[in-house]
């Protein structure tokens, strides 16, 4: 059999297969569409949002924004956010007061030591004529 005739029959066979396949798929898709149309009214979307989803989203947005912002702005926002917390204010005031009292007592100790030395010198002046003379000269 010559090659041209053989190729003709091969082409016919391929065309027949294509017509068969396309006809069947169109039929099946029509059938599926009708099934879906029946299912659609019964279908409900059940979406479960993870806990703190919104807060996490805002936190991620803030983190991305903060990485691009100047340090001063970040600090200001941190102060604004942290220092507004109601439970933090008394703690902050207590801490400040404690530290200031401790600092005051430490500095007062130094002052008292200095004044003590001065008073000691004053006493010695009253009993030591030589020291008295050195001050009066």
């Amino acid at each position: 059999m010559p090659n041209g005739v053989l190729n003709f029959f091969k082409g016919l066979a391929v065309l027949g297969c294509f017509i068969r396949v396309s006809g069947r798929s169109r039929f099946e898709s029509e059938q599926m569409n009708s099934d879906e149309n029946q299912l659609f009214p019964t279908w409900t979307v059940k979406v479960e949002i993870p806990p703190r989803f919104q807060a996490n989203v805002w936190a991620q947005i803030a983190a991305r924004e903060s990485s691009r912002r100047p340090l001063w702005d970040q600090l200001r926002d941190w102060v604004a956010a942290e220092f507004c917390k109601p439970h933090l204010a008394p703690a902050l005031v207590t801490l400040g007061l404690t530290l200031s009292i401790a600092l005051a007592y430490m500095q007062a100790q130094d002052t008292n030591v200095m004044k003590g030395k001065e008073l000691e010198a004053r006493y010695l002046e009253t009993i030591n004529p030589l020291a008295h003379m050195s001050h009066s000269t």
Partner: protein
């Protein structure tokens, strides 16, 4: 932000007030002593933990010693002036200058001995441990004040 600033301001104000009040309270006794007309003796009572009776006896001894101390002061002033005048009026060490310096040194020694006697007498009125501490403090200054005073003549 405004609320945060308010909290910070309140914290700063409370801390400052706490600091000032604490400092004032802690330094008030020393300030009161400094303003006292007899500050040295008040300091002695407090520093060496003297009872009222001990303080009264030491104050009496201090009062008795005061004329001696003042007399010594006058004599030292005179000796100083004499030595100064002799040093200024001569270009070499004359016998008069040498005698005046000897007299000046003797006078200083006399002052130290008088003070040492007073110091020992005062310490005897104190509790033993405080007495030892007092002697250490007072005699340490006897030597150092003498050294300071010796430099006066060269000024």
């Amino acid at each position: 932000m405004r609320r945060a600033l308010l909290i910070l301001l309140v914290t700063a104000a409370v801390s400052l007030a706490g600091y000032l009040v604490s400092y004032e309270l802690a330094t008030r006794p020393a300030k009161c002593m400094m303003e006292h007309p007899n500050a040295g003796m008040v300091w002695l009572k407090r520093e060496y933990h003297l009872s009222d009776a001990q303080y009264a006896r030491i104050a009496q001894m201090h009062g008795d010693y005061r004329p001696t101390c003042e007399r010594m002061c006058r004599r030292i002033a005179e000796a100083n002036a004499k030595v100064r005048a002799l040093i200024d009026s001569n270009s070499t060490a004359t016998p008069e200058t040498e005698a005046a310096l000897k007299e000046w040194a003797l006078l200083q020694n006399e002052c130290r001995v008088a003070m040492l006697r007073h110091v020992y007498a005062v310490s005897a009125e104190m509790p033993p441990e405080e007495g030892r501490r007092y002697i250490k403090m007072a005699t340490g200054r006897i030597v150092s004040s003498g050294m300071e005073h010796a430099t006066l003549v060269t000024k």
